[in-house]
Symmetry: C2
Subunit: 337 residues, 2 copies
């Protein structure tokens, strides 16, 4: 691969001049710049970010640490991050902590090794260890979505208390009084804030709280179990508030099993959304590709290829798609019209 030196020699300038051209820094005459740029194109020179970062202490790299990129909420957030970062010539590394503080620390270490310039962090726990660690390595941190108490950082979130408050008011307006909330773990600020907003709304309306607060995990399974618990009470809730999108799904699943209709029997509200118009229940008859498996296999292939453990012939792996028959198909001419 050609280097600044090759470009420099060919353009009859010093390497540093080439550096000035590609970085648009310092003074350069039009003619030299043109000459250098011509050579760069000619020999297909590509600057080496590693050397650049090593010397300049700037890598133009950010990291986005979330709990699970698979959650559409975080996916969308990631897209926002990448679009902005890309416009400023930054590259983004994504990390999934799966709500594990251990994983979070592991990633923090990796990111320090990689000398990233900054980290966007959705903290897995209330823990400030990660932030302090990054800080001690001179890495800027912006905290996203969840508060971490007692740490000084920039912080971006949406208003959980207010949102919850308004959702509950909406339910109250519909006549609901037995309103349960199923939320995440106590160590996560959003889980707590949403309870606060919930209680606030109930208090303002003069409704007793009735111990209908259920702390759990921010996932479907946990919500499913807690919903069953909540619906086993003698005085059943007429409405349930799920503190995030996966929780909503767990609620729906449990209610369906209990043969309860939404909203006729139980109203459901929640935080976070799913991309416009996805399925309330498995709906589409579809050929489902094993996307995760494909990602896995491809990466394994690639890694082997990199360490050249693979025979010369290129592999071609074609996985079957699974046909899943659901509600979007039926016999011809059964129109209800």
């Amino acid at each position: 691969m050609p280097t600044v030196h090759d470009v420099a020699k060919r353009a009859r300038v010093a390497p540093i001049t080439v550096s000035r051209v590609i970085n648009n820094s310092g003074y350069i005459s039009e003619s030299t710049r043109n000459r250098v740029e011509a050579v760069i194109r000619e020999i297909g020179y590509v600057p080496n970010t590693l050397a650049r970062g090593l010397r300049s202490k700037r890598t133009n790299t950010l990291a986005l640490v979330v709990t699970d990129i698979t959650n559409p909420y975080f996916t969308l957030m990631a897209r926002g991050v990448e679009d902005v970062a890309g416009d400023s010539n930054y590259t983004v590394i994504y990390c999934n902590t799966d709500e594990s503080e251990a994983k979070e620390e592991k990633y923090a270490n990796i990111l320090a090794q990689r000398q990233v310039d900054g980290v966007l962090l959705v903290p897995a726990g209330g823990n400030d260890k990660t932030i302090k660690f990054l800080d001690s390595h001179g890495i800027s941190v912006v905290v996203l979505d969840r508060r971490v108490s007692g740490v000084k950082t920039d912080f971006v979130c949406s208003d959980s208390e207010d949102g919850s408050n308004r959702l509950i008011k909406l339910l109250i307006g519909l006549g609901h009084k037995q309103i349960a909330i199923i939320t995440g773990p106590k160590k996560v600020s959003t889980a707590v804030d949403r309870v606060t907003g919930y209680k606030q709304a109930l208090n303002e309306a003069g409704i007793a709280e009735n111990e209908l607060v259920y702390y759990g995990e921010f996932n479907q399974q946990s919500a499913y179990e807690l919903t069953k618990q909540a619906m086993a009470r003698s005085l059943k809730p007429t409405a349930i508030f799920g503190a995030n999108n996966f929780i909503m799904l767990g609620i729906i699943k449990a209610l369906r099993e209990l043969q309860l209709n939404v909203p006729e029997d139980v109203s459901v509200v929640g935080f976070d959304d799913f991309p416009e118009s996805m399925l309330v229940r498995p709906f589409f008859t579809a050929a489902v590709q094993p996307a995760y498996e494909m990602g896995r296999l491809a990466t394994e292939l690639l890694l082997k290829r990199i360490v050249s453990e693979l025979p010369e012939e290129f592999q071609k792996i074609i996985l079957p798609a699974e046909i899943i028959e659901r509600e979007s198909t039926g016999p011809v001419g059964k129109s209800t019209a």
Copy 2:
């Protein structure tokens, strides 16, 4: 920040010995190893990946280039990639091409600059330019999801022809004969393969094709328009095959506007899925967080912080969540039971 030299000095060994310890390479006596490891922990040494990569020509970095990480299909794939990569100590950079070959080339350049070890590529077009470019820079490529003709690489995909064939057979089994297919652009292999499978199934069943093949984009808007076109024919399709998940959504949206029920009036099948049990139509009453905006704002903040254009005080940005009232809520005591 401490370096190998600091560790070496303190452990009374040569820097190269420290390198051997952290890389687990070469011969090292137990005692030296312990001594070095103790010093590493003691002074909080973190190896610098840039220097390492510069010297060793290996960055332990992969890139996943997809069209849009926002599509659950790719999100899931990404998770598969990251899990495997992470296990082998590789970090993954994600890139969204938005089906643009120009963006793809731009990213290829960035990835070459970053000296990534390998690229997992979902090609935006039939174009082999990117692959050749990466190849010329000694970067391994595994192609995912879509074929690129005339290029030698590893390749992982699912079986589009077979999947389509089986979906159409399923429809035929239900008595459908007027079956339309709405697919992606002709330059994308999956769009074409799915048509092939479709035609195959029709031929095998002895059903005329009737010009019900609609090429477009792999997105909702395009599918929406094509569905309207298809349903404007004198002999209307009784079933529609959408060649990916976003296309399915566009089909549903158009049919709903045309007051047609699924599956009573029109059956719908498609490729790709959505995560278990999402909404068929906007269903949940929810507090919707501006996830994308949050990602944007946070990144802008971070970038400013990195170049320290920001005043010392840390910012706290709290965005309102939008309350969207939909079908999951209703007045109390309206049970159908």
